[in-house]
């Protein structure tokens, strides 16, 4: 104890105390905070976030979605989309949309995560909707999750996103994007909320555990370290690229060899 008090005037003492205090607050919050509950948080911080979010919304979103999020001819209503939809759309840079088109694409993220949280808190007040998942909702340590997720992925997702999550074309310029490099949270939120033309997979038809398994499979399959055991993956797009590659390169090489076999040999001639 004596040792500790002797150092109380050390220049870094204040910093250490501050770090301890922060860790203790964070730990207590994590221990007592209700995980993933959808009930409205009425704490002062939350009302502050909602107030800040309202300002951000009025500046950045209301021109298309309306001042109360009721929707206009330029943008859909946000009543009942929940904070998860905001976290996905703004967190992947899809919103604010740059221009109308068949599909709003991924862009550079414009808002900081704290601003996104404030926006999400405000939009969540429009009506009850799915809230941003916590880490233990979208991650799992179960080693069998990848295999189970693969089966679920092929039943529910592979028709649009391709069996390896490479994405694919839909009608009239729309497409299912590649899942490569998408964070676990955003994959989970997309399944929960059904952004744009993607259908949603609510907990009532696909329980949280199955979503976790799908996230585990997608993360595993699209990771750059996941080997292509057979060699050249060719984008893992299936028979189209494989056929094209075969016709162009394999047949090209065979034609080259055939030309070599049949070509006239160099003749010895007097110059």
């Amino acid at each position: 104890m004596k040792k500790l008090s002797a150092r109380r005037r050390h220049p870094l003492a204040a910093l250490v105390v501050l770090l301890f205090a922060l860790a203790a607050t964070g730990g207590l919050y994590a221990a007592f905070a209700p995980a993933g509950s959808a009930k409205a948080d009425t704490s002062p911080q939350q009302s502050l976030a909602i107030a800040e979010g309202k300002k951000l919304f009025a500046t950045g979103c209301s021109s298309c979605h309306g001042l109360e999020g009721q929707g206009t001819s330029d943008g859909p209503s946000l009543v009942g989309v929940g904070s998860a939809a905001v976290d996905f759309q703004v967190g992947t840079g899809r919103m604010p949309a740059q221009q109308p088109g068949p599909q709003v694409e991924k862009h550079k993220v414009i808002y900081s995560q704290s601003e996104i949280d404030q926006l999400a808190a405000y939009v969540a007040t429009f009506g009850p909707g799915p809230s941003v998942p916590s880490k233990d909702q979208y991650s799992t340590t179960d080693p069998s999750a990848v295999a189970a997720g693969g089966e679920l992925f092929r039943t529910n997702c592979a028709q649009c996103h391709n069996f390896a999550g490479e994405g694919g074309a839909l009608s009239e310029g729309k497409f299912a994007p590649s899942l490569k490099g998408v964070s676990a949270k955003h994959i989970y939120e997309a399944m929960l909320t059904g952004p744009q033309n993607m259908p949603s997979f609510p907990d009532t038809t696909m329980p949280e555990k199955q979503k976790q398994e799908i996230v585990a499979f997608v993360t595993h399959t699209t990771s750059g370290d996941n080997p292509n055991y057979g060699g050249l993956g060719l984008g893992r797009l299936g028979p189209v690229t494989e056929g094209l590659f075969g016709w162009i390169f394999a047949l090209g090489a065979l034609i080259g060899v055939a030309i070599w076999i049949a070509a006239r040999t160099t003749k010895a001639k007097k110059s």
């Binding site: 009608s171 055991y229 076999i261």
Partner: protein
């Protein structure tokens, strides 16, 4: 030092005369020009060039041998769970990569050696061989015909009609035994293609959770796949049954449903459609929740689920069949009967 300098001039022949039966082009522009004159290759006239070509061929064969040995060794030595990064393939299994590479080199070098050998050292002189009529000469033909007639006479084939007719009978009946086996391709499907495993009162069971679905489980904009109650994945004929019974369930806001029949056949906007494309039977479930379109990945047929599964694009000839559903007393979704139209692609006997 270019190979041209290497050539011993004294070995080179004088300009060669054309050989073969060519005619002068001046007289008849369509005449057979015959074979071009044979010219010797460098290796034909220069012993040093020939020896060099020989060494090249041998080198290719030796490379093939080394590659085969490398194949044998790497199969025994390499840890078959180790992956390596190879540009441009990315991360590949080391063993697969090395085995493929060595076997490829071994095979290619044998072929390349043989081709190089043929091109440089084997004789490249062309020897035309004229075609002759394949018909036998009249004497031989006359003898064969006479022999045949004599044989037919001696066998009594024309005279002993009993033998002849029973032999024809035996030979004619025998192929029936082969044809008879085809009856196992039957029986004819009769009305099998018009019915699925759905029937009145069967609950809609979620493919993900294996639990019966309630109407309240299906949210607007969601997509769910279902199977009929009582069909288990462990069943022997599961795939066969699901090939016709596969179902997708969507929920569309009632004001967005264009067809009144669609709305009536659903339950509060919950609509159930066959998952099998009516063009050639691909499973379709590329559902766009804002447009309510379902796209078939095989030939881009597009169906509007808000309008009784109408074909709005592509080669499909029939709308996507909708299953009539309702809820039972406990709130579970149930079928009100089978599909009223055959699911999947058209067929000859299809009535509508």
């Amino acid at each position: 030092m270019s190979s041209q300098d290497n050539m011993s001039e004294e070995h080179l022949p004088e300009a060669a005369e054309p050989h073969g039966t060519g005619l002068s082009v001046k007289d008849d522009p369509f005449a057979d020009p015959g074979l071009p004159p044979h010219e010797p290759r460098r290796t034909d006239v220069d012993e040093r060039a020939a020896r060099r070509a020989e060494r090249q061929v041998a080198l290719l064969f030796v490379v093939s041998m080394l590659a085969t040995v490398a194949f044998l060794v790497s199969y025994a030595v390499i840890d078959n769970s180790k992956t390596i990064y190879v540009w441009p393939f990315g991360h590949v299994l080391q063993m697969n990569f090395v085995l493929g590479l060595t076997l490829g080199v071994a095979l290619f070098c044998i072929g390349a050696g043989a081709v190089h050998w043929a091109r440089t050292l084997m004789s490249d002189e062309e020897h035309p061989s004229e075609r002759h009529p394949i018909e036998a000469d009249p004497d031989v033909r006359a003898k064969v015909l006479a022999d045949f007639k004599q044989g037919a006479e001696e066998s009594g084939f024309g005279r002993r009609k009993l033998i002849r007719n029973t032999m024809f009978g035996a030979l004619g009946l025998l192929p029936l035994s082969a044809l008879w086996l085809f009856r196992d391709l039957g029986p004819l499907p009769t009305t099998k293609l018009e019915h699925t495993a759905w029937s009145k009162g069967k609950l809609l069971v979620n493919m993900n959770t294996d639990q019966p679905l309630k109407a309240s489980d299906i949210q607007t904009g969601s997509l769910t796949f279902a199977k009929p109650q009582g069909v288990e994945e462990s069943d022997e004929d599961f795939q066969e049954v699901m090939a016709k019974a596969a179902l997708m369930i969507v929920r569309i806001a009632p004001e967005d449903i264009k067809s009144r029949q669609s709305a009536e056949w659903g339950y509060e906007g919950v609509l159930a459609y066959s998952k099998i494309c009516t063009h050639v039977g691909c499973p379709i479930s590329l559902y766009e929740q804002q447009t309510h379109h379902v796209l078939c990945p095989c030939h881009q047929s597009t169906f509007d689920l808000s309008d009784a599964g109408k074909v709005i694009f592509g080669p499909a000839g029939h709308p996507l069949p909708q299953l009539r559903i309702s809820v039972n007393s406990q709130g579970y979704l149930e079928a009100l009967g089978d599909f009223t139209k055959p699911v999947g692609p058209g067929y000859w006997e299809r009535s509508a």
